[in-house]
Amino acid sequence: MKAAVIVSPGSNCDRDVQVALRQSAGADPIMHWHGDPDLPYVDLIVVPGGFSYGDYLRAGAMAAHSPVIREVVARANKGVPVLGICNGFQILTECGLLPGVLMRNAGLKFICRDVDLRVEAADTVFTRAYVNGQIIRIPVAHNEGNYFADEDTLNRLDGDNRVAFRYCTPDGEVIARANPNGASRNIAGILNEARNVLGMMPHPERLADAALGGTDGRPMFDSLVEALAAAA
């Protein structure tokens, strides 16, 4: 499987994603500079976390206009899997690949801690290694993770089973107390209509190594490697 990780000025989690992909795929992804619109052919594109452009103006707003993003959108529309993590999710909403917007956390503070997520769409190339209803523990680290979309959009996401992960209690209850940032309907990650683009606020690449406290993030990368190797 060949993967590319988009590196923008201010990306921080690009190396973490590279390490996670290397661990699962046995080979390094291409680290692709945002300014180069010539994206090589790859099976997977990852837009990593960080503070592209310092989160100035709006998180992800300026990175969404990077020369390479137009190409990322075109590939996504052709069916290439695209994974946006944290700032990556913000960039994907700003460039229109995913609906809605990530607003300032309801508590108005940056929050970094482990959260529990309920997997709700285990049928995609990203989530195949999980099962629906599974509770996984993944860290968040963000200031703007409060997912917002109008009622129609939210209903459509629910109706088409496009919510991939929801914040929940360790027992799986999707309630306000388990919501770290006020996101509508506890939404932590969503899919596009074609189910090949996933945006999520939590960082699966941060819990793919037992030494760091857990491995619930690893299946996402293993699943991608398996699914995309088979497709090749």
């Binding site: 103006l57 707003a61 508590g107 108005l108």
Partner: protein
């Protein structure tokens, strides 16, 4: 020409920052505030001298980058 852009949240979008400000003002003894909404103000110093062209340019900037039209409105004032 100077363009002044006010970017505000659309009605109905939750504004936790506005709420926090409202609460703090109340705590300082300011009564009679029904609501507070927080927005952004951006000043652009343009070389364009024709008002119509300038307005069109700034509108395009707002649509493309300065505002996220999913949740924000914008208003443009030009100082000739």
């Amino acid at each position: 020409m100077k363009a002044r852009v006010h970017i505000t949240l659309k009605n109905g979008v939750l504004d936790p920052q506005g709420k926090a400000i409202e609460h703090a003002l109340g705590g300082l003894g300011f009564s009679g505030i029904n609501e507070v909404r927080q927005g952004k103000y951006i000043e652009l110093d343009l070389r364009e001298t024709d008002e119509t062209s300038a307005r069109a340019a700034v509108e395009a900037m707002c649509e493309k980058l300065l505002a996220n039209t999913v949740i924000e409105n914008y208003e443009i004032d030009l100082d000739a």
